[in-house]
């Protein structure tokens, strides 16, 4: 469909007068050009304007369409590829470097504010080179992170913690040859793009711990998992392992839950010698969910236009009393340019084969949250 035709249809669906048309159309066009058209899961030939027409057209009454439209205009958070790239590019300066500086200051007994003295010191180089950077998914854009700061070597970066013996040997050889340290790695940065509920990363289900961060820790410290994984050979055994998890985007709720789970896990495993901190670059505060839940008329709408067909055993792993609020009832109005998270409101992401369709239809990957 040509955009001009989509715009004419939109005007008809929304029954806008000429004043409204002149106000809404350029704004929609700007947002579409700038951000929304880049959504990667739009079907071929469909862009934002066409999707908006289809989406609004499925609501029965004009009032419902206005409620839905107002929600998109006032609450939708769309993170574009440019924004993600920006988050990756500032991660070293915003999070990683302050951590290395603080470690150096503590070790050298320098004031943490003597940054010039710190960054030219051999201790700073020592701590930076003994840091391992591991991506927890493709979303970590770990290569881009490495390129954002030229003092990170290729031989301290991994796209996953499932590594081969050969790779481990190469990395340890390079570390020795760097002449910075004879020791192995003692700091790990685990990087990923997004968490809303934390479930994918650290969870307890039926008394069993699971999730990506949990699996990583087990692969270092749990005797059975350790014997099956090469990653533990990269870690200096006689030092406390310092782990930092960095999410480019995270909800306040997820960070709280992850911290609680990890503390409980640490108490249950006192012999595991690690300390762990979780960080996010763009925090999504609890007020975002509160604002969504305060819109009574919108809640009625999403309850009515919900397809229970999306509920499967993975969806049921989170809270599921009000499934129209998204996975684990996260109630997020969030769209990421490559896919809409299932923690977002289903009215935004319902796939094309369901009874109703989302504005930014999602491609399902069950391993997601």
């Amino acid at each position: 469909m040509r955009s001009a035709l989509a715009e004419r249809l939109l005007v008809k669906i929304m029954q806008w007068n000429s004043d409204e048309i002149s106000k809404q159309r350029p704004m929609l066009q700007a947002l579409a050009n700038l951000k929304y058209d880049e959504y990667q899961q739009f079907s071929p030939g469909i862009r934002f304007m066409e999707s908006l027409v289809k989406w609004l057209g499925q609501f029965e009454s004009l009032e419902e369409r206005h409620i839905a439209y107002a929600f998109v205009m006032n609450q939708l958070i769309f993170i574009s590829s440019n924004q993600i790239q920006h988050l990756v590019n500032i991660t070293f300066a915003e999070k990683i470097n302050p951590i290395i500086i603080e470690k150096t200051a503590q070790h050298s007994k320098f004031s943490p504010y003597k940054i010039k003295k710190i960054v030219i010191s051999s201790t700073y180089k020592f701590f930076l080179r003994r840091s391992l950077f591991i991506g927890l998914s493709d979303g970590s854009k770990i290569d881009q992170l490495r390129r954002s700061y030229n003092r990170i070597s290729n031989e301290q970066v991994l796209a996953t913690y499932q590594v081969s013996q050969d790779k481990v040997k190469d990395m340890l050889d390079e570390l020795k040859q760097s002449k910075i340290s004879n020791k192995k790695f003692n700091t790990v940065f685990l990087i990923d793009d997004f968490t809303a509920s934390g479930t994918t990363y650290f969870r307890k289900k039926d008394g069993i711990w699971g999730g990506k961060i949990c699996k990583f820790i087990n692969s270092i410290f749990d005797p059975k998992a350790r014997s099956e994984s090469a990653i533990s050979q990269l870690i200096q055994e006689d030092e406390v392992l310092d782990i930092h998890v960095i999410f480019y985007i995270a909800t306040e709720e997820a960070l709280e839950k992850l911290n609680n789970n990890i503390n409980e896990y640490k108490i249950a495993n006192p012999t595991y010698r690690f300390q762990l901190k979780i960080h996010s670059i763009q925090l999504l505060g609890n007020d975002i969910k509160t604002k969504v839940l305060a819109e009574e008329s919108f809640l009625q709408l999403i309850k009515k236009y919900f397809d229970a067909d999306i509920i499967d055993k993975h969806y049921e792993m989170g809270k599921c009393n009000e499934p129209y609020l998204g996975f684990n009832e996260c109630s997020l109005p969030l769209v990421l340019n490559h896919n809409t998270p299932n923690n977002s409101l289903p009215i935004l992401w319902l796939p094309e084969d369901k009874k109703y369709i989302g504005l930014f239809p999602r491609v399902t990957r069950h391993k997601d949250e």
């Binding site: 700007a30 947002l31 958070i77 920006h86 003597k114 003295k117």
Partner: protein, 382 residues
């Protein structure tokens, strides 16, 4: 990152914020050999004394002298109706500093009318507060609190202090800090009223831009976008007449929708009237002036290199956003002004209106202190 970018003066840098600030006051100013000059503006803003109060609570024995900049808004300014609040703040300040030295530094924001027109002179008057280095040479530490100072005043004042420190104390520079009490809700409660008829480059931040229209060098404009500044943006654009525009949006931000909301506010100006390409949009973190400085410096440097065959370029930065981010633009301009022509074009307002003063007072305690450390101990190698 190229070689030049590796040599950035404030990368890495020291930014102390929130709960870390009281801890810093305690650890830094309780040492015997410190002598502090604390400079702040007399204004109606409820945040005027917050930083000083926090300092004195956490370091009660600090050896401090204070300069209070008392700026005259001029007749007809809508801010004059809030003078009583400015005097309340001044009374609180004198109580806080009882027994210590407080020097009043009056400046006028406007000249007297000549030929029926008055001119903004606040930036020039601010630079004239420091005419000899010996005025500040005895101090080990200098803090300028910009929380109640207008942009036109604090840009030129900070620029002058940096210049004097670089010129006269290169070997043993004092610790020079900017402090700002940040509170987006209070900012949005203070509305700017009436904008200047004449806009120009700030004193000390003009570069060679005043003559730019007469040269062939392309001019690239970096407006840092903030809320309710449509008229300011139009005015600045008419003055600069840039060849290229890179609007700068705040992200990451406390409200992750903020940059989208700004696009909604300004889409007609930016895309329909000025024809800006989407790829020209830039993002800088809302709460980190040093990262804003890094991003802006890199962008300006990239343009300068790309346009080398045309003799490079000139860059203009205009801040229509928070005071915190404005420090990032100040640092960028200060560092590049001698290397690439970079100017700061400010569009000031003729006064302020406050939605609800009592409401603003209640919001005061949600403010967060940011301490931006510019010279001294962090940047020396020993």
């Amino acid at each position: 990152m190229d070689k030049n970018m590796n040599e950035m003066r404030w990368n890495p840098s020291v930014l102390i914020q929130g709960e870390q600030v009281p801890l810093f006051w305690k650890s830094h100013f309780e040492k015997d050999n410190r002598k502090l000059l604390f400079i702040l503006g007399k204004g109606f803003d409820v945040r005027m004394n917050m930083a000083l109060k926090s300092l004195l609570e956490n370091s009660p024995n600090v050896n401090v002298e204070c300069w209070i900049i008392e700026f005259e808004e001029g007749e007809g300014s809508s801010s004059n109706k809030y003078l009583k609040y400015a005097y309340e703040n001044l009374d609180e300040l004198r109580t806080l500093l009882s027994g210590r030295s407080v020097t009043s530094k009056p400046i006028a924001l406007w000249s007297n009318k000549t030929k029926g027109k008055k001119q903004r002179i606040g930036d020039r008057q601010a630079t004239n507060l420091l005419t000899e280095y010996k005025q500040i040479s005895e101090f080990t530490d200098i803090i300028i609190d910009i929380s109640a100072l207008p942009r036109g005043v604090y840009f030129s004042l900070i620029g002058r202090f940096l210049t004097f420190i670089d010129l006269y104390a290169k070997e043993a520079p004092p610790n020079f800090f900017i402090v700002v009490s940040e509170n987006a809700n209070i900012d949005s409660n203070i509305k700017e009223r009436g904008i200047d008829e004449d806009v120009g480059y700030l004193r000390g931040f003009g570069g060679t831009l005043e003559l730019a229209s007469e040269t062939e060098e392309p001019v690239v404009w970096f407006p840092i976008l903030g809320e309710d500044k449509l008229e300011h943006l139009e005015k600045a654009h008419n003055q600069i007449r840039p060849h290229e525009i890179c609007p700068v949006l705040p992200f990451p931000s406390k409200d992750p929708r903020r940059s989208d909301q700004l696009i909604k506010d300004y889409h007609q100006l930016l895309f329909d009237r000025l024809g800006i390409e989407p790829q020209n949009l830039m993002y800088v973190p809302e709460r980190n002036p040093f990262e804003a400085y890094t991003r802006l410096s890199k962008a300006i440097h990239n343009y300068f290199t790309s346009l080398n065959s045309l003799g490079g370029c000139k860059a203009v930065i205009s801040t229509f956003s928070s005071k915190l981010l404005s420090i990032g633009t100040l640092l960028t301009a200060y560092e590049l002004i001698g290397k690439i022509g970079v100017g700061v074009l400010n569009v000031d307002s003729q006064g302020y209106e406050i939605d609800d003063f009592e409401e603003m007072k209640k919001m005061k305690f949600e403010s967060e202190l940011f301490l931006i450390w510019l010279t001294g101990e962090p940047y020396t190698e020993n």
